[in-house]
Symmetry: D2
Subunit: 164 residues, 4 copies
């Protein structure tokens, strides 16, 4: 592992030589690591994606800002992030509905992309279609700020004992 000084030198190097996008991403990941450390997020990836959660009756709504960090090679949101958003929103919702001694683990997911991920933010609306004692089936619809459907996903989860 590198020393503290080496890490700081790397950060300085990016700050001095990086593009605006690099600086933007650096800020985002520093804030993300910090947010994870202070307990605002429970994974690095949701911290870097800046997920905001709101529960709304039969829906869990998870929103993320569209940032340079999310871009794919043609400058729209990488489909992997859209899939991660859907998976996380669906899984979070299932986890909120099951006993504390269980945890929901994704067994499969499918996503259809219907419009490019561009604009200010993506809003994912997750719903539970079936909740049994061992499995759950869910769906999620992801919209941009104009209400255009960007992606539609379905997923299955195993409900397994949470390890102590």
């Amino acid at each position: 592992m590198e020393t503290v000084d080496q890490l700081l030198e790397k950060a300085k190097g990016i700050i001095e030589n990086g593009s605006n996008e690099d600086m933007n991403v650096l800020k985002q990941v520093l804030d993300g690591i910090d947010g994870k450390r202070r307990g605002k997020y429970n994974t690095y990836i949701t911290a870097f994606m800046e997920t905001e959660i709101e529960e709304n009756g039969a829906q869990l709504v998870m929103t993320i800002p569209i940032t340079p960090f999310l871009a794919n090679t043609v400058d729209i949101v990488h489909g992997g992030f859209t899939a991660t958003l859907a998976d996380t929103a669906m899984g979070t919702f299932v986890n909120r509905k099951i006993p504390d001694d269980k945890v929901a683990v994704t067994s499969e997911m499918k996503i259809n992309y219907t419009a490019p991920g561009v604009g200010e933010f993506l809003k994912c609306r997750a719903e539970i279609l079936h909740l049994g004692t061992k499995t759950s089936v869910t769906e999620a619809k992801i919209y941009n700020e104009n209400g255009t459907l960007v992606a539609a996903a379905t997923g299955s989860f195993y409900l397994v004992p949470r390890k102590a």
Copy 2:
């Protein structure tokens, strides 16, 4: 946007107060931004995931190390990363097979998870099942270092004109 000094302060804060995992992730994202800047990777997410590509006849093989950055809330690789790995490997392979004036855009993907993502690395083997003039259908199998199948994916891509 924050000043250079503020960014460096944030980095110092993480270095002084963060966990070993935080430090590990900080190093990884600093190296990632640097690698993206120097052209080693063409997106931030593949830079952070440290994707290595090898083409192998009928397969494109994409490998990533399993790092704390990838962890979900139960300390295995977040399924979103596994999906991102499959999507990226399949899309990269299709892009290598089509004319330069076209680009492959994911239209849908499905992934089945068959074993937890734990261990040293994940190796994704992507294959092209169908390559037409307007669409392609692909599959990917993801293995851990013991050769255990961790996930299996299929995806479809639209082949659209690349913007100038």
Copy 3:
């Protein structure tokens, strides 16, 4: 090809030796072939499934009775029929929404089964999530007569020129 007399002998053989289920299925397929011949159905499989269609604003609703013909080896509706119902309902809806010189061809479909297909009938509610000029993305939910969700499907269609 067999002669008329041979076919009638076969029918007689089933009538004399078959179970109640065999007779039920025989009646169903005879009515189905007849319904197809008289233009009530446009394929044998929808005729045998006795699909009824109702368009209902943003939904196309396709209903089928649950009959012995549909049974799998454990006496619930074979998942293949549930998939056929979803595919047909989604495709029929897309075909109604596109110009006459085009036809919708399924490019992919995924279905999750959430409850066994038992009871009086299955009711499939199909919706169009995205309708472009070349492709469409749809979803379908299938319920039994108690309103329990039996299956949820999503599908994609290519919109191709209809052959003269």
Copy 4:
């Protein structure tokens, strides 16, 4: 239920007034009901599809002739049959690999169509990707007689206690 005479009248009506395709389908379903009755097939749908099974090491191969019964509205094999073939081949293979007191029930399936189902027959090659104690994940590739890939499917199965 109709009387024997009424059923025979219906059969005669089809024979006298039906098209060649109607006659072909009538013969097929009569043979199918007969084959089911004599135990050659264990469901009506596989009897009507005339499935032939061959186990081949790591693959179960299920073949069906392409007949008018299978046609959709544009005279290629209805995607629902292709899905039924994949589902049945995958499920049959899993059922052969598990203890007799359990039965495999499809929990989800996805299928991508890569070429039209035309020609003499469809050959489905099913493989098991994962076989646990409670679930199994499988894949199937469907080819026409020229070896062209017609469809690729993946599916999941719950392994549940077989009812007495």
